[in-house]
């Protein structure tokens, strides 16, 4: 058996050295990996948890003292004892009345009402109103409470309370897909006039696809030109591609607002040259057109760079050989040149698509009402409507789509081949 100088078997010594090298390499990466896990992966995990867990109807937290108190416990107990479909009887209303007293003491009727409001709009005020009078309620509670507001007898309200009494729920995902629980607990579509999210997901996909296709048609000729020009000239042209890439996103968006406004540069130029009459200036901003134009401009370098790096590797003698054997320039392009550029097209298209699906800033500024994408709606629920669980559910769906595309990108192109300028 082969051994090292100090008598160890060679195989063992080699394995030992290799595992030490592995450990050493891993130790170099470890600090960064730990950082990313704490500052990025964990927060996203927390967001995903929020999307399936909403304690608005189960726990009240005092932000001054940090103490958490369970709320709506009596009602939760009643729901547990009585299966789905039981009509709420006197004991149920008694439980509700007792819980409302607790809510009043904890100053939490707004919070509990908001949670039910997510499932059934217009119900928040019922909770605040009822809690105010909770102490004065006397048996029979059923009549007393329905006396306050007859909507308390609404079976959909009881269904909503039943779902909300358990913190863990998939209802926000249902809501994010324009669905809701029917009174009997089954899943159904929301009324047509309230369906927003699926349409928005579809619009996001369609606009992203459109932007990707336009980017391809704009990037292909200039990438080809740069790849065939001598190095010195193509480097100059490359600067024209990289300058937008390095310019602030807000600056580029502002520029497009200046150009596309109805009193802006483009409309003014068209009016001045007589292409357009002054009174029918084209509305190119605060709609989908604005979003598509500005986003195409912003994402174009991400298509040009991978295309260029693939095209500059293509050996020109293949096309020359095809031409010398009698192919027309079109045939030579179609059969010989184009197939060789496919890896670059794939890389660029996937990258542009991934980035545009999650775009926020540009649509928010130039999109107007119909140019908004799914990201803008997430921001709306985070900052305006404050329905954080719904925002988290929408974000989770978007994240799922992006990760799928990312996985595809890694599979087809490899993350290692991502290049920046």
């Amino acid at each position: 058996m082969l051994t090292t100088v100090d008598g160890k078997p060679l195989k063992e010594a080699l394995a030992h050295a290799q595992s030490r090298a592995k450990r050493r390499a891993f130790l170099l990466v470890l600090p960064l990996l730990a950082f990313i896990i704490v500052s990025f992966i964990f927060p996203i995990g927390q967001m995903l948890y929020k999307s399936v867990n909403n304690t608005g109807f189960t726990i009240s937290k005092d932000f001054g003292t940090g103490v958490s108190t369970p709320i709506m416990t009596n009602l939760a107990e009643w729901f547990e004892e009585n299966p789905q479909g039981t009509d709420p009887d006197e004991t149920a209303y008694a439980a509700l009345a007792a819980d409302l007293v607790v809510l009043r003491e904890l100053k939490a009727p707004g919070q509990a009402g908001t949670r039910i409001n997510y499932e059934l709009s217009g119900s928040r005020s019922m909770f605040t109103k009822a809690a105010r009078k909770a102490k004065k309620l006397e048996p029979p509670f059923k009549e007393a409470i329905i006396d306050l507001d007859e909507d308390w007898a609404d079976p959909s309200l009881w269904q909503a309370m039943r779902t909300a009494s358990i913190a863990v729920t998939v209802n926000f995902y249902l809501a994010a897909l324009d669905r809701k629980r029917a009174d009997d607990g089954s899943v159904e579509m929301v009324p047509e006039n309230r369906q927003v999210y699926v349409t928005l997901f579809k619009r996001t996909l369609i606009l992203s696809l459109m932007i990707t296709v336009i980017c391809f048609f704009l990037a292909f000729p200039i990438a080809h030109l740069m790849a065939t020009l001598p190095m010195r000239k193509s480097n100059l042209l490359m600067i024209l591609v990289l300058l937008p890439f390095w310019t602030s996103l807000l600056v580029r968006t502002t520029s497009w607002m200046i150009v596309l406004q109805s009193q802006g540069v483009l409309n003014d130029a068209m009016v001045a040259t007589g292409i357009l009459a002054d009174e029918n200036r084209i509305q190119m901003m605060y709609n989908q057109t604005g979003t598509v134009i500005a986003m195409t401009h912003i994402l174009l370098p991400f298509m040009v760079l991978p295309l260029y790096s693939v095209m500059s590797m293509i050996n020109p003698s293949y096309v020359r050989a095809a031409r010398s054997m009698g192919a027309t320039s079109w045939t030579a392009f179609r059969r010989i040149y184009f197939p060789q550029t496919v890896p670059g097209i794939g890389a660029g298209a996937l990258l542009v698509f991934i980035l545009s699906v999650g775009y926020y800033i540009t649509p928010a500024l130039v999109g107007g009402a119909d140019g908004q994408l799914i990201s803008n709606l997430i921001a709306f629920h985070m900052t305006k409507s404050l329905n954080w669980s719904l925002a988290a559910a929408l974000a989770a769906i978007l994240l799922g789509a992006v990760l799928l595309l990312y996985w595809l990108y890694d599979r087809l192109i490899g993350i290692d081949n991502l290049k920046l300028g």
Binding site: I36, P43, G45, S248, I258, V259, Q263, G264, D268
Partner: protein, 306 residues
């Protein structure tokens, strides 16, 4: 791409059409960025060229918007411009404060991203690195995950750990921006490490250099261009980032992009164009630096000079 002499008429026509198309696409790329520069000198509060501007009448141009930029938010903008006026500007002018915040946040997030990223890239480029593919995918993901999702997650995370009560100003934003800058550092540094001759480090070790000494004397000079351009990318990412700042930044943590965002959303004034012009000039400077670094790096590694 010269046209061969035997080209047919159709090919000639197509060639010129093709060149025109390319020229138009380049104009599409570059014109919207350059157009803000002359417009920022507009004497009128309009976003389009006035007649005077088109006639190159000097009275059509002014630097009033740059002046507004300086004086906006000051206590006494109309006082005589002596040392106390400048002190007022330094302490109170909104855009100057935003610039200070942007630079502080950008600097610290760049330091974190570059140091951690460079060390990790060294490990990632070793052939014996275990689980390379999945780790690389995780480290690049902040660039791929939509910014709104990152901001949402960080909002929940920071409020659950109450980061604003820790007493370190800007901490949340700095950590977030460092996270966003890391993928750029990883990409640029691993790109310079591709084709790195590992026998150089072995030779250094052979001659008795400690790993630290080898790193600073042998590896560092070779990968330095990549590290610097990665750092510039990280800095620009932070300098340009608005969504995370809006979500997790405190009210007093105004940065340049946030100030611009507010300006664009509320009432867009040509002062925004003068900020834009300054930023365009900065990005031209940065691009030049990165381009020079890239050429230097290629030369160092014996690749053909660009």
């Amino acid at each position: 791409m010269a046209l061969p002499t035997h080209a047919s008429t159709l090919e000639r026509v197509w060639h010129y059409v093709y060149l025109t198309i390319c020229a138009l696409i380049f104009l599409f790329l570059i014109l919207p960025i350059l157009i803000v520069i002359p417009l920022s000198f507009n004497a009128e509060p309009y976003f389009t060229f006035t007649e005077k501007m088109l006639k190159f009448d000097p009275t059509g141009y002014s630097t009033r918007w740059y002046d507004l930029l300086l004086t906006f938010g000051m206590n006494e903008p109309d006082a005589p411009r002596d040392s106390s006026w400048w002190a007022d500007a330094w302490n109170n002018a909104a855009w100057i404060n935003a610039t200070k915040n942007s630079i502080i946040i950008g600097f610290f997030s760049t330091v974190i991203a570059t140091s951690l990223g460079t060390i990790a890239a060294l490990g990632l480029s070793r052939p014996e690195m275990p689980g390379r593919r999945i780790i690389m995918a995780i480290l690049i993901s902040p660039m791929i995950v939509p910014i709104i999702i990152t901001a949402t997650g960080l909002f929940f995370f920071y409020s659950s750990i109450k980061i604003q009560d820790w007493g370190i100003p800007y901490l949340g934003v700095i950590l977030a921006h460092a996270t966003l800058g890391i993928p750029f550092v990883i990409i640029t540094v691993t790109a310079t490490l591709v084709g790195f001759d590992h026998s150089l480090t072995k030779a250094a070790a052979n001659m008795g250099a400690s790993p630290t000494r080898t790193f600073f004397k042998v590896q560092m000079p070779l990968i330095l261009p990549g590290v610097i351009s990665g750092a510039l990318f990280a800095f620009v990412t932070s300098f340009d980032e608005v969504v995370v700042v809006l979500f997790v930044g405190g009210l007093d943590e105004q940065t340049i992009p946030r100030q611009m965002w507010n300006g664009i959303r509320e009432q867009i004034s040509p002062a925004i164009l003068s900020v834009a012009t300054i930023l365009v000039i900065i990005s031209i400077a940065l691009l030049t630096v990165v381009e020079l670094l890239r050429r230097r790096s290629e030369k160092l590694r014996g690749m053909s000079p660009g």
